[in-house]
Symmetry: D2
Subunit: 329 residues, 4 copies
């Protein structure tokens, strides 16, 4: 196999009201609206050269749609199709613009129940990086990563590493009887801390997509703006610094309850002999470097994911490891 | 009466280990050490032109000592002495350098039990404002304010306004049967949001002294530094933005458990027709603009204060109003 | 005399195109538009509780109008009128709303040719401090100070100190034969570094009005925005840090060529025994702390001022001291 | 050929006084000192997992030593040796620790006269990313890129792209008779704007090595610190924002006159269909986005480079294109 996954490139969320979602994502948070139709908003960040990093799809329920991974060449889709076939996974080739702005694509339901998509081509868009008169809100720059919850943490992390060649940047262990059990994995394709985080929990569920804010200052400012708009209930956790990845974060709920993270300031992971960073689930600095606990709700709630073929929500199985640090209710 | 209180100028804390306190305040937080002797550390901020904004006094217990108010001229001490006499308050004139670095002073136990001091002269010190090679930690600039807890909130706030000519910048009310009852008062002499905050609670107790950090960035950085030093337990609340005063904050506990606040970014209060800002105790944006609750401990714990004359801890009486928002445990 | 000047409260600029000026000041820089009519824009900052900090008045030429000083009570106007009378200065009482949003006022041509105005009342406006959804551009908070050029630097600085009770925060000297000659004076009424800077130069001319940007970050951002809009020619000097006052600065020219400064991060000047800071005109850190020279144009060009009564531009006399450091062309 | 250059990993500078250099780079700028001996300082950044990103070598002259490129595996050195042989370039294999902290290496004099080195192994060092108590000065995080001057800009940029597989992120053209002539090339291996910038000019000369500062704030702070230390003469250009790459910058001269850049805030360049950004040499926003000119000295002066084998300074040939924008003296 010689394909290359370049990065996690976009996510899809279901929303029940596009104009309310537009006010939240575009007007308040500072996403760039690339395009819209009656059933979708196609959003990107100021640094993006791809058509969208988030598709909001009108539905009668909230939840997560698929995750789009960009590959390095069109031929990689054939290689990945062969892989899906060998693995007995649901897969489907779709033509250019089946998803607006995206070229030919391969849709796959991964072995753990997550709907994913591979593509190479994306419709050209203006690069807004120096269009500073368009910066506002958190000044969303690009998608950074997505976060899965699954009871199959070991197998899932292994599959993305072995089959899709993700590399392990950091990991969390639950220590049982003196033995490390993998609790979470931060996996990268691009040269930053991660493209995909996988955590132990009831699943398959989608915990959040995470977008880069321009700076600490814009990430803090968006909390100010939400408060100014009387929308503090959208703020779920933070702002704070993560121990894992070292980044500043703020977790928000959109008007439908979907969760996103704003994120800034991790690191460049470029060295070929990278030694993964190990964290203990109960290290008080792990989740929030400054020691504050995440609220229970942050652990309890996550988004359903759906099958590519049937559109049905995937059945959720319970976690087998503890799903949070001992100190969180 | 024609005296003028210029500002809240210094606070005194009791600590049980001066070298441990020095490591915390000077090395970690970034206070400037003006001077020290076997029983004291005299600290100031980078912007200060006064000898100290915090005296740490060696004792066998933690707790708050006195609050020092600077006045506009030496003759103001006589006027204030007359006031103390008329009010029947414990008061005492002390000579130059009774408190090192401070000139002639008047010590008074205020009617609510807080030991305070008035002075005009202060020993000259180098202005460190542009000594950027000395900035580190939070880059503490100056004392901003102190915060009292008292069951006599109404009388106490009135006394500082009527007798010492403080002005009301903002206030919090507890609404009972549709009527506002004063719960907290933010009072100023200098032209910023406040020099003295008085809140309802069991007292007399001292809740915190608050020091200006150079910027949001240095305030956040000091949380990073504490975590890096394995001292996250010193972080009690925040970082966040207050609704009242609009400032960024971080509450810390020193190694003896004394509480300080780092604070930055309130406003200039200079207009002669200032209309005080009213807040409802249960407004979710009041305490933290972004909606997060303060931990119970922040409400439950405070420092004892002592009598100037006897050195005995002042007896604490219970609050008569609720001492926290309904939403806090 | 017992009046109190509270602060420099507003400036007036002449512009030749109100809609172009509005695009610059409101849309790009982030002033709040309080009100407008066919001949004026009334602007304020996000922190302001006064009706305006800048009036843009339609004219057939650029230039500076008057400077508005707020006083502590209505009766202060009578005291100031007496002063003007004794000094033989042109003066005129005008009624409420002669300048929209301003109450009864006293207009005076100061002895050095500058048109100034004193007032107490100002029309109430919403406080925008926590209206973070309205922050954009540099997030202009309030007027900080104005800067005069005059050949009569000594007399002018003395007059504002002796007659209007301004205090000297910092000063610059031109050293001639080992003797200090006053070259510039930074004078305050409110408790910050200054309300009025007076510099040696051909005059009377108005060099700039200076407005507080929310932070270093927003001050830098407005330079980005101007570049993004293809308007780099509006950027005249900076961003940089001043040695005098320690503040970050950026000098801009408005579409008519009027100069403003954006300014942030000086200090609180509250101590009653303040010792003024002395700077040598040729100290490389004086004007820009990091050593960069101001461009010649910054020294060569300034705005005319006009007579309250005749509307004629005041005649400009040459400076008698060198008008810039030796190192500037 | 199947080698992979991972990134530009370190630079070497010659200095005439190691303790003076240490005070500048470590105490003032915030490099981490990994190791030192009587003839070298080995420095790294807070984010580095390599032994050093800058070697300061004691010499009787200033100037640039070699540039170290890290490769993806030890076997890549053999491939690169074959390339050097085919190209007829001076090359030499050296053993582990010939350069302290670096494993087996291949030294090559590139066709344009620059001494370069390839290596895979580097001695393990503690990762300081979360050692926030060690952050100071600009908080140098890692090496970003190096910048060459050469009269052979076209051939040199082509060689690094064709032979070493660098990719073109941005480029500058000098327009002559309506035709673009390549004036500068920003080339990357890692996924940021560049690892190597090559500009037209008399050469071979080394213009600067560029190091990531943690943030805009720390980059500005280091200018404050230099001024506070009376060392403003070390500040050559900036702070400002580059049009090319969009990054904040500050150019400094070390105590020997060697030039470095502090740099922060470019972008992630990860898309497989990246379209290079074109800039006109005379675009006023190209070099400094806000329109300010670089000083002539920034164009006139650069560091000599030396031959690996003889240690002799490489002969400098004049540029054939204009070496600066028309607007610079």
């Amino acid at each position: 196999m010689s394909f290359q996954v370049v990065r996690t490139s976009h996510a899809e969320y279901f929303v029940t009201d596009l104009s309310r979602a537009r006010a939240f994502y575009v007007d308040t948070l500072g996403f760039v609206l690339t395009s819209e139709d009656e059933e979708h908003l196609y959003l990107r960040g100021l640094e993006d050269r791809v058509h969208h990093n988030l598709v909001l799809t009108l539905a009668d329920h909230a939840g997560a749609g698929h995750v789009g991974f960009r590959v390095a060449s069109p031929a990689d889709l054939d290689e990945l199709e062969t892989l899906a076939q060998h693995q007995g996974l649901f897969h489907q080739r779709v033509r250019d613009n089946t998803e607006f702005g995206v070229g030919d694509a391969l849709r796959v339901q991964d072995p753990f129940g997550f709907p994913i998509e591979f593509f190479y081509e994306t419709r050209a868009v203006p690069w807004m990086l120096q269009a500073y008169d368009a910066y506002h809100g958190a000044a969303v720059m690009r998608l950074d990563h997505v976060n899965y919850l699954t009871p199959d943490i070991g197998a899932c992390a292994a599959w993305y590493q072995e089959k899709l060649q993700f590399q392990l940047s950091e990991y969390t262990v639950s220590v049982e009887n003196g033995r490390d059990r993998l609790w979470g994995a931060w996996l990268r394709r691009k040269q930053t801390s991660h493209d995909l985080a996988i955590a132990n929990g009831a699943g398959p569920r989608f915990h959040h997509a995470s977008f880069i804010a321009e700076s600490q200052a814009t990430l803090l400012r968006v909390a100010d703006i939400l408060a100014a708009k009387g929308a503090v209930n959208h703020i779920e956790r933070g702002p704070g610094r993560h121990g894992t990845t070292n980044a500043f974060f703020l977790y928000l709920r959109d008007p439908d309850g979907n969760r996103i993270e704003l994120f800034t300031g991790d690191y460049l992971a470029v060295e070929p002999d990278w030694q993964p960073v190990r964290w203990d689930l109960n290290d008080p600095r792990r989740a929030t470097f400054w020691g504050a606990e995440a609220p229970s709700r942050w652990f309890n709630e996550a988004m359903n994911v759906y099958h590519w073929d049937t559109g049905e929500a995937m059945a959720v199985r319970a976690a087998t490891l503890p799903d949070r640090p001992d100190s969180v209710d």
